[in-house]
């Protein structure tokens, strides 16, 4: 009796054919992207999105063409942080026109399409069993976004990943070897422990992990201008990947992000040079590969 692999094709369902066709459309849409860098962590609340936006500005200041894909479909923040929440999507000749900030940074985020007052919900014939199919559906939507946007030529496409160590690995596998990973941690054992799980999981993924960024390493005091400790810092957990730099928490910079204001105008504190240094380290690591 014939086995599955003795029979050519996929039985007439065309499922495999459609999945492969979509992969081809994604590859074609991203053909002009030189570098894809996914910013993840595993831990939530470490400032992945804020740092992603700051890195985009730093790279843009150096003359690079940059776009951000907010891959956190359920908790998107880039639309608000870039002040693009009220921009209407416009169909262009090659797909959705890439919305851009005043600084010229392209931004695609579910926050452009779903209001903050609504939870991301999918129509489904099995709505009560969403724990089984929802992750698959989200990756299908992400694939539609990648394939349907006119990304154009880009030096950097930064991908803002959602939290979750296992999700970080899933997204890395989804984007494939073309995406390099940068992990963000706080300078605490708790955070480093979770990021260590991501590092361990990513060893099975095809992606290069460029290193980690210690975010919120102290805070910038608005009164005296010095950087003071914010967390009980520890180096007990060795992540085993290069440190790309440390960035202090700057309340003025964070507030500018919350309000969707242009970052360079709020970048007078010591955090901005640190962000620029991390951006340079990322460029250096990519160029060394």
């Amino acid at each position: 009796m014939k086995s599955y692999f003795d029979i050519a094709g996929d039985g007439g369902s065309r499922v495999l054919e459609q999945v492969r066709a979509k992969q081809s459309r994604i590859a074609a849409a991203l053909a002009g992207v030189r570098r894809m860098v996914a910013v993840g962590s595993g831990k939530g609340g470490v400032g992945k999105s804020t740092l992603t936006l700051q890195l985009a500005h730093a790279l843009r200041e150096d003359g690079a063409s940059v776009a951000i894909l907010d891959a956190d479909l359920n908790g998107p923040s880039q639309a608000r942080m870039t002040g693009l929440g009220s921009v209407a999507p416009v169909p262009g000749p090659d797909g959705l026109v890439l919305p851009r900030t005043a600084a010229g940074i392209g931004v695609v985020s579910m926050g452009l399409f779903v209001p903050e007052s609504a939870a991301l919900d999918f129509e489904s014939v099995a709505a009560g069993d969403s724990y089984v199919w929802r992750a698959t559906k989200e990756f299908a939507v992400l694939g539609d976004l990648l394939a349907g946007v006119a990304w154009g030529p880009l030096d950097f496409l930064l991908v803002d990943l959602p939290p979750g160590a296992e999700r970080t690995v899933q997204y890395a596998e989804f984007f494939g070897a073309a995406a390099a990973l940068v992990l963000v941690t706080l300078p605490s054992d708790l955070s480093r422990g979770v990021v260590a799980r991501s590092v361990a999981g990513l060893r099975r993924a095809p992606n290069r992990v460029l290193g980690y960024v210690e975010n919120m390493k102290g805070y910038c005091c608005s009164e005296c201008g010095s950087v003071r400790p914010l967390f009980a810092e520890s180096s007990a957990i060795d992540l085993g990947i290069p440190c790309l730099g440390a960035v202090p928490f700057d309340p003025a910079l964070a507030a500018a992000c919350d309000r969707g204001e242009p970052l360079p105008a709020a970048a007078a504190g010591p955090a901005w040079p640190a962000v620029r240094s991390v951006a340079a380290a990322i460029r250096g690591a990519l160029e060394a590969s």
Partner: protein, 137 residues
Amino acid sequence: MKFLCVLCDQPMKLVEVAPPDRGALSVLYECPECAHRIAMLTNPFETQMVTSLGVEIGPGGEKTESKCPFSAMVPGAGAPGAESGVTWTASALRRLERIPEFVRPMARGGIERFARERGLSEVDEAVLDEAKSFFGM
């Protein structure tokens, strides 16, 4: 998924996908040798697992759900111009069809509003280009 006619040792051919009924799908297969037919019946749970890949099933591309996952959250998710009275030229519609399906209702609503505010009753490629400039893209 493939089906094998054990008697003939031949792969069965997908013949027809019936329209979904309350989330259940009926897919008809036939053996090309003996013409024996079987039907694969899925429950909504199984149907959803496959359609979550963003694919359509069968030779005719049977849709098993609305492809716009947010249609309940976006007002006026019908056909272009259905509610606003603004019509779309064929070339403008082609552009609309190239963007992700779940973005289309919002794009359509925004563009039609943009057109109405300018006293236009038709969306063509020039209107889309004007909208692009207006939104600073």
